[in-house]
């Protein structure tokens, strides 16, 4: 049971964490330490210039001062890449990006040479990536070296040829020969077009820019949404050479959009909600596990932080669990996505309702006070109407300055799940044994559920046990927790759990033992009483042994159900097994060796007597055949008999019956033959004797 309770609390905690995740926290210290872990150079440099740029850019945005020392090595590889004529436009692009941060010393001549190469690529380019890398590189050169002439003469033409790759739904193709359109490519195209605008020697045609704005609006029509209010772009084109996930796709679009927006004078009509939703998407993923995703997240958030369309403001709560008993203050922070402070504003608490019942608000709308020291909006005292429970608070951010309203987006109302906890008072707890028929109280004891109590009761099957108590919240209201259980545990570990019901204002359970004897398996004896009162918002949830009751139940009838077997301790499976003792048959009593040997000698005596008798009778071997052939047969006959007897001895000592019988077969045949010859010879001689 205790395990169950702990499990439940963990579950509640997990749910609360999950819900808390939908309150988006701005970038904080944890991102900074994660950045240092994710971007660690090996041997003083990152793998490629692309990775170097991503690391440097991330460190720059997060304001990490103690960067790893990669300056000299990276500068060397930047100048090598820029100086080499075999470098691709992509290599040049990332080298220039790194250079824009590190500001290495590069010869003007090198810039001149690269510029002419890049311009050639721009003029003959037909694929989007060529345009993107070359134009972006030229824009970077423009920033790094003002002396080089990077301006494009035919900016309108280049703008048109990039625009020619766009689709009607706002997405872009990678090249004119490739019919597949991609959202990621749209992001690259927007960035490239922004580069063209910055490099144009004369102003770009306004009608072109207006159509592009239209394209952006169309592109934002295909935006996708999560339930928590975050928006993102996803690549529908799946079988491209390089698939981009939602993170890098959204990131590319934001980079392109912000680059474009920073160069256009007019407004782009995009809903602030979508911009805020994009910010929430990046904040909602937490801390990504790989450096590429991390860079995309931080870079996009940095773009959103300073974009010209609308800057999202993020409302976050340092704590979403407030204790009524400790009189916690409701604190709300409003920051930009990267955690910098917001313009002057007021946070209003519009509504608060118990989660699950969204119709009735429990509070009036009110403003939160501002603490300029900690930049926190505070509601000093929670309204009287807010009791313990799970609430959803609805906040609204009101900007003070009307100019700020154009720059920032707050996304209207923000819903935040909040847990209000408190110490629940337990009153009038008492346990009593009642007589069944009359209902008169036999014994009654008060118990103190907050402290240590141990009551001892005794009852028989004709009586009842009553447990009752009242729960009141800090606001003095009736409180109904998630779990109220009474557990009776017999000495033999048989447990019975009862749910304690509530009747109006108090919790009460009456156990009528007469009806429970069968459930209790007719087990008399001591039952320990345990009471569980638990709830996520109850700070003093209890799981307490109240005492014990000595039950006297009738004898079990024959057909009564047996109590269940004790659960096997799962750890005992791995323990040592009981030792197996073998019982051998006790050896029979044997006589002393001397006695047996003596009797062996005795058995030989009759044999000796037999020989003596033979001698006295005067036995002779005169009948033994004297002729060579019959004598041989006679000897063989006797040898054969001796062999058979020897065979029997062997059989007794080690052979089995089959080997013996096989050998006996041969010996027997031999014996038959020689025996027959011998005996017939003897018979014939005796017959001759008779006839003579």
């Amino acid at each position: 049971m205790a395990r169950n309770l702990v499990g439940f609390l963990v579950l509640v905690l997990a749910i609360s964490i999950c819900e808390a995740a939908s309150i988006f926290q701005p970038i904080s210290e944890s991102h900074r330490s994660a950045a240092l872990e994710l971007f660690t150079p090996t041997d003083g440099s990152f793998g490629s210039l692309e990775e170097t740029y991503e690391a440097l850019r991330t460190f720059g945005i997060l304001g990490i001062q103690k960067k790893p020392h990669i300056g000299t090595g990276s500068c060397q590889s930047v100048s090598e890449t820029l100086g080499s004529s075999s470098s691709t436009t992509k290599d040049l692009f990332f080298a220039l990006k790194v250079n824009s941060i590190l500001e290495c010393k590069i010869d003007e001549a090198i810039f001149q040479e690269i510029t002419s190469r890049l311009k050639a690529v721009v003029n003959d380019g037909n694929s989007l990536l060529d345009f993107y890398y070359s134009i972006s590189s030229l824009a970077l050169i423009k920033d790094q070296n003002s002396k080089v002439d990077v301006l494009l003469g035919d900016a309108d033409g280049i703008f048109r040829s990039i625009k020619a790759l766009s689709q009607s739904d706002g997405r872009w193709r990678y090249s004119s020969s490739n019919p597949e359109s991609s959202t990621y490519a749209a992001g690259l195209a927007l960035e490239a077009l922004a580069g063209v605008m910055s490099l144009a020697s004369s102003e770009i045609d306004h009608s072109l820019i207006d159509t592009l704005k239209n394209d952006i609006v169309k592109l934002f029509d295909s935006i996708e949404k999560y339930d928590d209010g975050s928006f993102y772009f996803d690549e529908k084109l799946v079988d491209a050479r390089e698939h981009h996930g939602p993170l890098s796709t959204t990131s590319a679009v934001i980079r392109g959009l912000t680059a474009f927006a920073s160069l256009t004078s007019g407004t782009i009509t995009l809903s602030g909600n979508k911009i805020l939703g994009l910010a929430k998407f990046f904040l909602g993923i937490g801390i990504p596990g790989n450096s590429k995703d991390f860079f995309n997240q931080i870079d996009s958030l940095a773009c959103l932080e300073s974009n010209r369309i609308s800057v999202p403001l993020i409302l976050s709560l340092p704590a979403t669990v407030l204790s009524l008993t400790k009189k916690d203050q409701l604190k709300v922070k409003v920051n930009t996505v990267l955690g910098s402070s917001a313009p002057p504003l007021t946070v209003k608490l519009m509504q608060a309702f118990i989660s699950g019942s969204k119709d009735s608000s429990v509070i009036e709308s009110q403003e939160l006070g501002f603490d300029p020291e900690n930049a926190v909006h505070i509601l000093d005292v929670l309204p009287k109407s807010v009791d313990v429970g799970n609430y959803i608070f609805v906040f609204e951010i009101v900007l003070h300055d009307s100019v700020d309203k154009k720059i920032y987006t707050t996304g209207g109302q923000t819903q935040v799940p909040l847990f209000v906890t408190g110490v629940v008072k337990i009153d009038n707890a008492e346990i009593a044994v009642l007589d069944s028929d009359l209902g008169s109280i036999e014994t009654q004891k008060k118990i103190d559920l907050a402290g240590e109590t141990s009551v001892s009761l005794s009852a028989n099957h004709l009586q009842k046990l009553r447990l009752s108590f009242q729960l009141t919240t800090p606001r003095g209201k009736f409180f109904k927790p998630h779990q109220v259980f009474l557990k009776l545990r017999h000495e033999t570990e048989v447990e019975h759990i009862f749910v304690v019901g509530n009747s109006g204002k108090q919790f009460e359970i009456i156990l009528d033992f007469l009806g429970l004897v069968e459930k209790f398996f007719y087990l008399s004896g001591r039952y320990d009483i345990q009471l569980t009162v638990g709830d996520a918002v109850m700070e003093n949830s209890i799981l307490r042994a109240v005492g014990h009751v000595e039950l006297d139940l009738p004898e079990a009838p024959e057909k009564a159900p047996r109590p269940p077997a004790r659960p096997v301790d799962p750890y005992s499976r791995y323990g040592p097994k009981a030792e197996i003792t073998h019982i051998f048959r006790a050896p029979e009593k044997r006589p002393p060796k001397e006695l047996s040997l003596a009797f062996l000698g005795l058995t030989l005596l009759p044999f000796v007597g037999f020989f003596i008798g033979l001698l006295r009778i005067g036995v002779n071997l005169k009948n033994f055949p004297t002729l060579a052939v019959p004598a041989t047969f006679a000897i063989l006959f006797h040898l054969g008999i001796a062999a058979v007897i020897l065979l029997y001895v062997l059989f007794w000592l080690k052979w089995d019956l089959f080997t013996t019988l096989k050998t006996l077969g041969f010996l027997g045949a031999f014996l038959m033959f020689v025996g027959h010859r011998t005996l017939s010879h003897l018979a014939s001689t005796s017959a001759k004797l008779k006839s003579t």
Partner: protein, 115 residues
């Protein structure tokens, strides 16, 4: 009275001995052999009575070996005896061959039973 019975007994033994002396030698050998077998069996019975019948199969096989041989020898004696007209046509050699064969079979079983 008592004197006369002992005398009678002496006279009886005497006549028995003189009558037995005329028995052919080969029958005497067989008698001796039967006696030897029976005595051996008796010694084993005494041993069992003293010690106990623990390896009972060994005791049985030993005893039956002796008794069986004795019985077979008696049978041989019956067949070989010239006085018995019943077996007149049976050659003593044939009887001996039977005796040998029966003994071999008997002892095969005995050995098997000995354990």
């Amino acid at each position: 009275m008592a004197k006369s019975t002992s005398k009678d007994a002496q006279a009886l033994f005497h006549s028995l001995r003189s009558a037995y002396a005329s028995t052919p030698t080969n029958l005497k050998i067989i008698d001796l052999y039967v006696g030897f077998a029976v005595f051996t069996a008796l010694i084993q019975v005494v041993y069992m009575a003293v010690v106990g019948s623990f390896p009972f199969n060994s005791f049985l096989s030993g005893l039956l070996s002796c008794i069986g041989t004795a019985v077979l020898a008696v049978c041989l004696r019956i067949q070989v005896n010239k006085e018995n007209k019943e077996f007149k046509d049976l050659a003593p050699e044939r009887a001996f061959a039977d005796f040998v064969l029966c003994n071999l079979v008997l002892h095969l079983v005995i050995m098997n039973f000995l354990g």
